[in-house]
């Protein structure tokens, strides 16, 4: 192998943790596009809901249990035909695994993608058919799956999706660009597995929860929030218009972003210029602590560092586009506006 390729490869490997971190978060978030964020201050619609009706994103509008066979349109715009109610479901995103268990279809999940957070605990025994590194198509076929729910926008490798479809395994590709998209996907999942009513109940309870929370954080002052997603080899923050930015805005904060929709690396100079009021450590699970942050060269002058406003958070709950997204918003509000008494936690399960 020529020397340049060696050096190229080692260059690829060196920041592997950071790359993996970025990949994980972009995949978990499903990149969360540039869709407009529903602002907390925007006037609620007729139902008093902050979130637009579920039919706003591609997907069937039917809320009554559809009889099988049914043809659904997934988030890629592909028509997926299901001849009968799926009995053996494979979930290729951790968020979908959570959704399936939350809408009472967990007992039919025969395979799942590895979930570092291992949630919900009942999903513990489900065989793993894929990891971050790749999907084991052979295992999925061997399980006799009659529905595979995959992640869109690069969440599940396109090769694996194509391969499964070529073998006549129905694949529903889901990809939520924003909070309404998450609720729409829950409904779509419910329709696909014959749990429409349960899905609708979950989605509308989440919708109500979001409305309640955003009503509660109708604040005049929005602290500048820097949400750190990684610190190796350089500091990673959040990209413009990402779901992180959207969630922080919903939680009554003003997100400090990298200034690009695709780049997650945060130049220190830019961070110092923005001078955030609060630093949230989404990378606290990787051992980043407030003390370590305060010691970083150039950071001591930051408002957040001087006032000690550096808080760890459970990154997965904040950003996983599943049933716990509301809990994530609650965590963010608690971090950004500790003075606000939150409405009591609504059960997020179906």
């Amino acid at each position: 192998m020529p020397a340049f390729l060696f050096s190229l490869r080692s260059r690829l490997h060196r920041p592997s943790r950071a790359i993996a971190g970025i990949l994980i978060l972009t995949v978990l978030l499903a990149a969360c596009g540039s869709a407009a964020t529903p602002r907390p201050s925007s006037p609620p619609d007729a139902t008093g809901s902050l979130v637009p009706p579920i039919t706003a994103t591609p997907g069937p509008s039917a809320s009554a249990a559809p009889a099988f066979p049914v043809t659904l349109t997934d988030d890629d715009g592909t028509k997926v035909q299901l001849t009968a109610e799926p009995k053996k479901i494979v979930s290729l995103t951790p968020a979908e695994t959570e959704v399936l268990f939350a809408i009472d279809a967990g007992d039919r999940v025969v395979g799942k993608v590895d979930d570092p957070a291992n949630y919900p605990p009942e999903a513990d025994k489900v065989p793993i058919v894929g990891t971050f590194a790749g999907i084991d198509v052979e295992k999925i076929v061997g399980l006799g799956a009659d529905l595979v729910i995959a992640g869109g926008s690069g969440g599940t490798p396109q090769d694996a999706i194509d391969k499964l479809r070529s073998l006549h395994v129905p694949v529903l590709v889901l990809y939520a660009p924003d909070v309404p998209g998450v609720l729409a996907d829950i409904q779509l999942t419910g329709n696909a597995v014959g749990r429409s009513a349960e899905a609708e109940a979950l989605a509308s309870s989440m919708e109500a929860g979001f409305a309640d929370l955003t009503d509660a954080v109708d604040v005049a002052t929005k602290p500048k929030v820097f949400y750190e997603t990684g610190d190796q080899p350089s500091i990673y923050g959040i990209a413009d218009d990402s779901v992180y930015a959207q969630m922080i805005e919903l939680a009554g904060g003003d997100p400090v972003t990298t200034g690009s929709a695709t780049n997650w690396e945060m130049p220190t100079e830019k961070l110092i210029a923005a001078d955030p009021d609060l630093i949230i450590l989404g990378d606290s699970a990787y051992g980043v602590t407030a003390a370590a942050v305060a010691k970083r060269p150039g950071w001591s002058g930051l408002k957040a560092v001087k006032s000690g406003a550096i808080k760890p958070i459970d990154d997965i709950v904040v950003t996983r586009p599943g049933p716990r997204l509301l809990d994530g918003l609650r965590l963010l509000v608690a971090a950004i506006h500790p003075e606000i008494a939150l409405p009591s936690a609504a059960p997020s399960g179906g």
Binding site: M1, P2, L5, L12, I19, T26, A133, K163
Partner: protein, 359 residues
Amino acid sequence: MTTGSDTVASRAGIALRLPPRRSPILLGAAGVVGLVVALLAGVGFGSVAVAPGDTLGILAHRLFGLDIAQTWPATAETIVWDLRLPRVFEAMIVGLGLSVAGATFQGLLRNPLADPYVLGTASGAALGAAIAVLIPVRIVILEFGLLQGLAFLGALGAVVAVYRLARVGGGAPMTSLLLTGYALGSLLAAGLAMAMYLSGAALRQIFAYLLGSFESASWGRLAGVVPIVLVASAVIVLRARSLNGLLLGEEAAVHLGVDVRRERALLLGLATLITAACVAVSGLIGFVGLVVPHVVRLVVGPNARLVLPLSALAGASLMVAADVVARVLGEVPVGVVTAVIGAPFFLFLLRRTQRGYEL
């Protein structure tokens, strides 16, 4: 046959040592047996257990049309026929192609460090693949997507550019080719790094391409790649005499009646075509194309008439074996496995050959 290399070597006065005498027919037979064993292992192992009897039954039923009572579940047939068999064949054809191309490049450039990627194919293909990943259009022609298409064109384009840039007068001198390949490769690698930086969530796809895999193998893709690789490899094997001549240097080759300029361009083109076809379907799998020809040379000596076909057999078997190991370990990148298996074996052979080894 060993006497052939003997005379060639002594005629050129190069310090080529004679390897231990072994019958090439025996070695060839061993290679074929190894290939069959690798095929059976490749079809027999996977993440789902399929009974060996069922596997053989499915193969006999589908391959030879034998009328066997179908005792196996339909999923087993899908796994063996639609997933494992195309994958094994793709590993074989890529292993074969990269080894033949590697042996050809090493001979042409008279450089033991040459491999199929030496003239910019790897970075050209990788840049093509990365650009395809960044273009949000899905085109599929005969099961080949934009990624495979641009990787193929990138690999070919890089070598065409290198050849043209390195050309002085009528031909391209070897040193000039190597250095141009290195320079252009570095430039393309910079483009690749930029594409990766810009790729956001698609980075994983580019990364997977750089590591190489046979996961997406299918009958349709095989139908596109197998003819290219087999025909080009066969033509190279038939021109082994020219390669032997070129190995001795240009003047010696002219004296042996080789049309140096034409043969070199032809062999270079064929080896590049093979490499481009391989990297288009499998991504960048390193090491096989570098080491397999050397291992074969350590065993049978430098005669290209032996080195080329035996490299083809050995490369195909090694790649299938590496892919089986990769699958059993749970989708480890196959390039990692080829290096882990191949490097120690190569070192062992190199140490055992007490006398010096030269091309």
